[in-house]
Symmetry: C2
Subunit: 215 residues, 2 copies
């Protein structure tokens, strides 16, 4: 599952390192205002010589998220309040994982790789390890291959990593970090100000690495 | 969740009986060859004075199912072999439930109603009670409302019913059974021959009710 962001790109490099010879990058066009993600995902997939499937799931009509509703502003990064921010998209990872599970079953893929992490993250409930564990069990019950005793593997190799560790791992694995896009806002350049830009900047700073995608 | 078939239409009548005043019918356009379902769903939603949201999720490119891949024939009904039939669509209910959960959270709906049943059914793994139970737990972890202690209700009032019981319940609740469509094939009239037609005919026969949608 490749958004075109930092985490999913490093995750793809991990999949390759793990020995995945054939990679199918699945990207979701869900009406996100940061549509440049989609172009970056295509560029990243090409670097990995992966097939690329862009799946449209239009969430704009649902409302309720700053990432898909133009009437809700993306806020500046703020100290962690413990709450779930307005950039939360209802059930996003649940939906994306479910679609990826369907595609994996149809195509005969053995594993899904998902670059979630629950340390330096925006506080979305569907990034937490307990959600991922529960999804694994549900997918095993939903899919033919699970019934047949060969459950789909759902791998989240970055879930316990800090953003700095993800940056370092990306550098180590020569992931194309220069192609990645993190900004939640839809501008032509990263705003440097939203939660996602702030987390990215913190990660590169703590890793002691210059962000190759910075202007 | 309203496909336009018998079960989901009766399920909608149950939701109304349960006291649901505002109903949002969610129908999936997933590339099914029996596209007449979509028209029937709209007609059923209108009878219930429900809002109707048709959500496109194109599964045709995935292949692997007779319902979405024109190169795979829909077979005639056969005695239960205990296997999963070729009309199985990978992860269909998992995906549909996940999307419905996202819509419910965005719109502030308290419950999802799903007309699955695990008695007179085609043997799909994602119709079984153990799958539904696992999905409930996963959705509670994925959604903001679950984190906040008010998990989404996922109701499957027909899960233990026979097809005949579903027909009788539909008659009792005055559900618009004449508008429903069950045939898996894409013809202008029900084929009478596929698994879904066979289950429907058996249900009406055992209930002692004439099928109002029959020619």
């Amino acid at each position: 599952m490749l958004s075109g962001g930092l985490d999913s790109t490093v995750c793809m490099a991990v999949a390759r390192r793990d020995g995945a010879e054939r990679l199918l990058a699945v990207t979701f066009d869900y009406g996100q205002r940061h549509r440049i993600e989609l172009e970056r995902a295509a560029a990243v997939a090409a670097v990995f010589d992966a097939d690329h499937l862009v799946t449209p799931i239009d969430m704009r009509g649902w409302g309720a998220s700053a990432l898909t509703d133009d009437t809700i502003d993306v806020p500046a990064a703020a100290p962690d309040s413990g709450g779930i921010p307005v950039t939360y998209v209802p059930a996003r990872n649940l939906i994306f994982l479910s679609v990826a599970a369907g595609i994996a079953e149809a195509r005969g893929a053995g594993s899904i790789y998902l670059g979630v992490n629950a340390l330096d993250y925006s506080g979305y409930p569907d990034c937490r390890p307990e959600f991922i564990a529960s999804f694994r069990a549900t997918a095993a019950l939903a899919l033919k291959r699970g019934v047949e005793g060969d459950p789909l593997q759902v791998r989240t190799p970055l879930i316990d990593a800090t953003k700095a560790e993800i940056v370092r791992l990306g550098v180590e694995l020569a992931a194309p970090l220069h192609l990645t896009w993190s900004c939640y806002r839809g501008g032509p350049a990263p705003c440097g100000d939203c939660d996602s830009c702030a987390l990215r900047a913190k990660g590169f700073a703590e890793a002691g690495v210059a962000d190759p995608a910075a202007l």
